[in-house]
Assembly symmetry: C4
Homo-oligomer: 266 residues x 4
């Protein structure tokens, strides 16, 4: 396994731990990343609570969401969400599906999610999708390729889609951009709900959304947030071991955690 | 004590720790499991905060909720909730009574709890019971057999019942199904409250409830959630020691916690 | 110092840690206990965040809230709250003044706090007091004896009083009863607020309040909750060392914490 | 580096950790302190999540917010917020800019923040500033000197200003006063939102605000809260190492943490 891929898979696990630590993912939900050298494939954990996944739990799937090598692992029944979005959106390299408590009230009430401060401007326009519209009564899971394709069509050229009575799906060009958009999408939802309770919601203008989003997706912003979230995963003792590839060949980008020096441990 | 029972009692303690960890149980509330070989008996902790219970605190009661062997332990005054539901519902093998903060607002306001996303579809229809209707002013505790029987009648063929100005009681065919339904019943309540504040609640259709519930009660779902909740109990250092029976004869089903390898501890 | 007093002072510190752990006390607020052998005196911490108090920080005051022995310690400016309630209510042996976030919305909105489930029935009728009514514009602190006496009159024969734009004061016949009433007073407030957002509040009938309160103030209930809260203080590593008196002469009432055996520590 | 400055920089890091621990700061936001001997300069962290900053990450800027010595560090793009307020307000020696979740609903809804209990009276009158009013559509960041100067004008002679669809900026005469005002400004916001949901907000009278604020900004109050917040940072293992200067020449002002003696560690 080339070093670049080993590092990417490690980053996928870190992104997943961050999203669990930030209360986006719980027992359910999943995160994937597209293969950097073969855009017809993507990596995702086997079926389990995402927070528990290790690199050794990752499987490589084609865009029909079938494993490229035979595997004994049970797979996520909703993996077509990922495959169908990768098919429809060549520029998307990472996808997260979740049922975060901050966002679900919008999926239940049908209220429109809009950027209410500058950092979450990266969510842009957030369309709705209702599985019932096209498929009638189902078990609500997106398991058939045509269900995934329908969701991808609802997402369109946007970056986040709300699924009625179900959850949300978010896309990004990189894992760090995806993580930033997913977490701040939840923060926006929580704050918009609070402002709705105040009786008025003042959202960003289209110009403010475009300018703020362009600023926030740049690495200085996404890395600053990533480093902060990583520290919280570390402090909780939940950081996965560094990849072997990374350990042997690549110097860590971040300085060694200062907390290791200053945290008092018994 | 046969191994199967030792394992079941261990699982009862784990379920209890999960429900405490998930903020369903606090100083009050209790969980029980029916004897797997004698359906006229069930196991429940002696009187104490449920989170503090160990296997050695469990007592065996008959369906009149009297101990089958003399005991010095103080017993829960509300144990008839369990006995009377086991009498009325032969397919029920586990019961939880709680006062979770997510659910109590419904018990106080009288608003109907309805499944608002797919995972909690397992709560189905949730009836109300008001002790005052049949018994007038009481200390609100369900202590007489006829009070327990009245609650069991209100539950009927459903799986969760709300008790006005008091709390909730939930039933399951297994401990894991019970734990899943109890936790997601609380999550549904919290999210429904949030959607009510948005001004509209879009609930699942009857067909969606039936199909979603049928999917979620299957072991792949209940075990996935169970493993996740167990990890959180482990990470908090609150996992009970494995049962002696389990240690000697049965290999652990889950792999050894990966966190033990990767969590940083001083 | 007689053993009984040493144990009581230790219990005062434990009660304080519990109330901090349960998010009732923060940097401000205070708890006191009446001298068991001299009803004209009471014990309270010197001026500091209550969670930080140790037995060695306790001072003995008379009911005019003056120290019975000269002390270098800065004292709480609001200690007259305690002294004046002890003067007015001979059966009260413990007092807590706090600004818990659950209760403050009622102090700000003026909404009446009423028991909404059985456990908090111990709060009974909760009157309001507004320092402005009798004393006009002040710094809002209850520092003069006449201010404390006015608050005690508003409390009357009740057990909890809300102070407009300020906080709450709670009384008990014992430290454990006080702790139970204070914590469940906050839980009631939080749940009543949630039910108000649902649009309807169904409170206990007068008969239900009387019967439920009579049950909950008995030791089986207050001790069950106390043991649970103590465990949480222990698990957070915040339990004060046992008093010397207790260690040498009195066997611990609770079994040694089981968590010490079963908690996994690296 | 003189000892007084070393101690001040250490205190700046402690204040920052407190504000992170109290959920005011997250990946974004920043805190600064004016140079005690040269009022034309101030200290602030390099560009990063504030919680991660160490003394070695601090840079010294002039009031045009340019570094006084060449540095490789990336700087906060919004540092003009600090420089322009120091220019406009000679009595201000510490500034915090944040996006706390408690306060943002007011920035989004436009509801006026008012002191609702005595401790936050130190926020006084809280004006609004909308970057759009003067600068039209921007990326919402305060990066140009004229943007910072406009914000400083909106702050005027007050101590806290809300920035529409963005966050808040708070000023203080000392770091401890700033920390007190910032944390209690957030607590006031959360409690005011809760009281608004009750349907009525009873705020302090102008006389009560003046008298309460005068009391709370005194060291007995700000130090009591500071010591409490420090303990929470210590208990989380996130306290920065004491400054070398402080270690060698200055006895610690606070007694050694009692928790070190009484906290149980495995």
């Amino acid at each position: 396994m080339p070093d670049a891929i080993a590092e990417l898979l490690h980053e996928l696990i870190v992104a997943t731990r961050i999203l669990a630590s930030q209360k986006v993912l719980d027992a359910f939900g999943h995160v994937s990343v597209r293969h950097p050298q073969n855009p017809q494939r993507y990596f995702i954990s086997r079926h389990q609570a995402p927070e528990l996944a290790e690199v050794s739990d990752l499987v490589e799937l084609n865009l029909d969401s079938e494993p490229v090598k035979p595997t004994q692992f049970r797979l996520y029944s909703e993996r077509v969400i990922h495959g169908e979005i990768y098919k429809a959106r060549p520029e998307v390299n990472a996808v997260c599906h979740h049922h975060a408590h901050a966002v679900l009230p919008f999926c239940i009430s049908g209220q429109q999610l809009v950027p209410v401060f500058h950092l979450p401007a990266v969510i842009g326009k957030v369309p709705f999708w209702d599985q019932r519209d096209e498929f009638g009564d189902t078990n609500m899971l997106v398991v058939k390729p045509e269900e995934g394709a329908s969701l991808a069509r609802a997402l369109g050229s946007n970056w986040m889609v709300l699924m009625r009575r179900h959850g949300a799906t978010v896309a990004g060009t990189t894992l760090r951009e995806l993580t930033f958009r997913t977490v701040f999408g939840c923060e926006n939802a929580a704050l918009q709900s609070a402002a709705m309770a105040h009786g008025h919601v003042d959202s960003l203008s289209p110009g403010e959304i475009a300018l703020s989003a362009a600023h926030s997706v740049r690495p200085p912003s996404t890395n600053r947030a990533w480093d902060y979230w990583v520290r919280h995963v570390e402090n909780a003792g939940l950081m996965p071991a560094a990849s072997a590839a990374k350990k042997s060949s690549a110097p860590a980008k971040r300085a060694k955690p200062r907390s290791a020096r200053t945290r008092k441990r018994g």
